[in-house]
Subunit: 397 residues, 2 copies
């Protein structure tokens, strides 16, 4: 090309450069397929996070140039400078979402827009770059289609592909400052049923600020960032040694309930009126992770239980109220919610000197409402009930 | 060797294995020197963290086998599984410490045992492995001796080698659990004077839980872990846009002072008695990082100011007390302390609608006590005053 003559493409590139850092653009995706596909692990070996799929989705970002070319490549280790900010200052956020194979064999994502909006909010909270969520959704859909064989068959219900998008800071200046380069990546692992032999109810130990606090006003407990997790492990380990599988995180002088382990918590109380119930979960006050399953439970409850006379409450609830309700036989059931287990029944809560029984008889693993929510949600996840929450990946373009 | 005949060494190895995971052992260190030593950067380019030395110290750990062979190798990138726990759940802790060249040319570490004890406490808080601090000190001494040329000359005071030990979780199961493998590593960077052109006083903006809180009772704010840093950046960036270099983190309904940016805070008040003063810093209540420089200031103050009639207080202090003191001319000076700057003078604190002036006249950058502490501490760091705080690396064996 003669000097002075600028091709349309170069001119476009120039305009892009002059209009600031580039946005995330799924249309630029480059795919390099693995030459060595993994042998699928036996279905019974699919414990959470123990196997990964064949590929990794990666997009580099710099403050100067914005989002670079998205790449799907064979699963590989990351090469990080030992001074990379993610390794020192906790610049890391992530999501947990799932793809399911429906009864007709199609692969579907479940409410993925909620996960990607939350990832954007987590990123902004810790000064990591945000992105166009529609573009990331397209990339994840393409990634899931490539890994489709890892979602075990139609005949085995409870199987899914756990998808883990992550953003980490990669710049290697040791100063504590807003990241100037980052990597968004996504890996996935095949998972089997969380309760392969039926529900298993767990025992919680309540903890308050004297021992350990998970979140606080003005903190970042409502975001999915690395720093919220590591400090919970040592106190949880101590509780396990005392026979409690998870901690119930309380807050404040009045021992308000927040979350249980890494789950949102729901409590069913019998009300004063005959045959009337209240379903309670703590409100999104900045200390509670806005769980996708939490939102599903609230939506379904408002749709299907409220018409039956139930009260559906996002409100503060203290341990004293739970203890009192149990004392007069009004504590009906308690369960946790999360992407991994959907719902997880709670057998008991150790609070100070009291062991609060949560409505299960000795040989019972879950009560009616807990079981019902699992069925209702899974019906939409696997599209047994066709519903907008479940999006076929083939329709994401 | 004939079957059945066990060599003494094998027998020893067997005993070791049967007595549990191996402890950190500096005597096993293997050193691989770089074949391509870096050209030393010009002295005026030594801003914090912008250059690294030639080598990295690394020790692998597994829950099964304990601490492996320590290695010093050429500076290199880390290869991490994208599922490595450090990248997801904040399993990372670190230290910041310095080596100095004294007036006779010998290299010294400054109170390194405090840093290594703190690293052990940080590691335990987030379920990372702990270690024999004496062994790590020997390894760091050997590492510093190898990198000695990066500590700039005797004639230029204010230069040092910033040393960054780190422990990260490396296991790649996505479950949130206590790490089963980890990497302890240490990198270093040559640094120049923090205030090359003399002190520069900064302006703080006070913030409470309505905007952002750094730490909380039952949290992990008293530990040097990654999760304490990333969430501070976005609020700090917003304050910078309003003209304040750092945040003053308040806590509780009474707006108690905790830390400033990543520094401990000291306040000097004139007391009721003529020519008497009180030096105040918040107590180690679980929300305050137990800073090495904080401890130096308190020690020196008790040794040299208390005999002059000063009161040295580790006590709670609220913003109302600071505002009131400033109003009646009793706020004498305010400064932050940390490894990077030693002491950092504070010009003003924005609190609600008030801009509290901290005792500096318009053309003044630091007042007497702030300056004195810097001189006293540096005299020991550079061994101008021979003192047990400063340890020649050649004596660490």
């Amino acid at each position: 090309m003669a000097p002075g003559i600028v091709s349309p493409q170069r001119s476009f590139e120039h305009e892009r450069a002059s209009s600031g850092p580039a946005g995330l653009d799924a249309s630029k995706l480059r795919v390099t397929k693995t030459l060595h596909p993994t042998k699928l692990p036996p279905a019974e070996d699919l414990t959470f996070g123990s196997h990964h799929t064949d590929h990794i989705l990666q997009v580099q970002w710099t403050s100067e140039h914005g989002w670079q070319t998205p790449q799907i490549a064979p699963y590989q280790h990351l090469s990080l400078d030992p001074a990379a900010a993610v390794l020192h200052y906790g610049f890391e956020c992530f999501e947990g979402m799932k793809a399911y194979r429906d009864v007709w064999g199609s692969v579907r994502l479940f409410r993925p827009e909620i996960n990607l909006d939350r990832l954007n909010r987590s990123a902004a909270r810790i000064a990591l770059p945000t992105f166009d969520a529609d573009e990331l959704l397209k990339l994840i859909a393409r990634f899931v289609q490539l890994e489709e064989r890892f979602i075990y068959g139609r005949r085995k219900s409870g199987y899914s592909l756990y998808i883990r998008p992550v953003i980490i800071a990669t710049n290697s200046n040791l100063g504590v400052a807003a990241p100037t380069s980052a990597l968004l990546y996504c890996i996935a692992c095949p998972v089997g049923p969380y309760f392969p032999a039926g529900f298993k109810a767990i025992n919680l130990e309540a903890t308050n600020s004297v021992v350990a606090t998970r979140a606080w006003p003005g903190g970042a407990g409502n975001h999915k960032i690395g720093g919220n997790y590591a400090p919970c492990i040592a106190p949880e380990k101590a509780a396990k040694a005392r026979g409690f599988q998870q901690l119930l995180w309380l807050f404040g002088d009045d021992d308000r309930i927040t979350e249980a382990g890494t789950m949102n918590l729901f409590i069913v109380l019998r009300t004063e009126q005959e045959r009337c119930f209240e379903l309670i979960t703590p409100p999104l006050d900045g200390m509670i992770l806005p769980g996708v399953t939490r939102d599903c439970v609230l939506s379904l409850a408002r749709e299907r239980l409220a018409p039956l006379g139930w009260t559906i409450s996002e409100r503060e609830i203290c341990m004293s109220e739970v203890v009192d309700a149990a004392g007069v036989g009004k504590l009906v059931e308690v369960f946790g919610t999360g992407t991994a287990a959907v719902v997880s029944p709670i057998r008991s809560i150790k609070y100070r000197d009291t062991l609060v029984q949560c409505g299960l008889s000795r040989h019972q693993s879950a009560r009616a409402i807990t079981t019902l929510f699992k069925e209702w949600i899974e019906a939409r996840q696997y599209a047994v009930e066709e519903h907008p929450w479940s999006v076929p990946v083939s329709q994401i373009k």
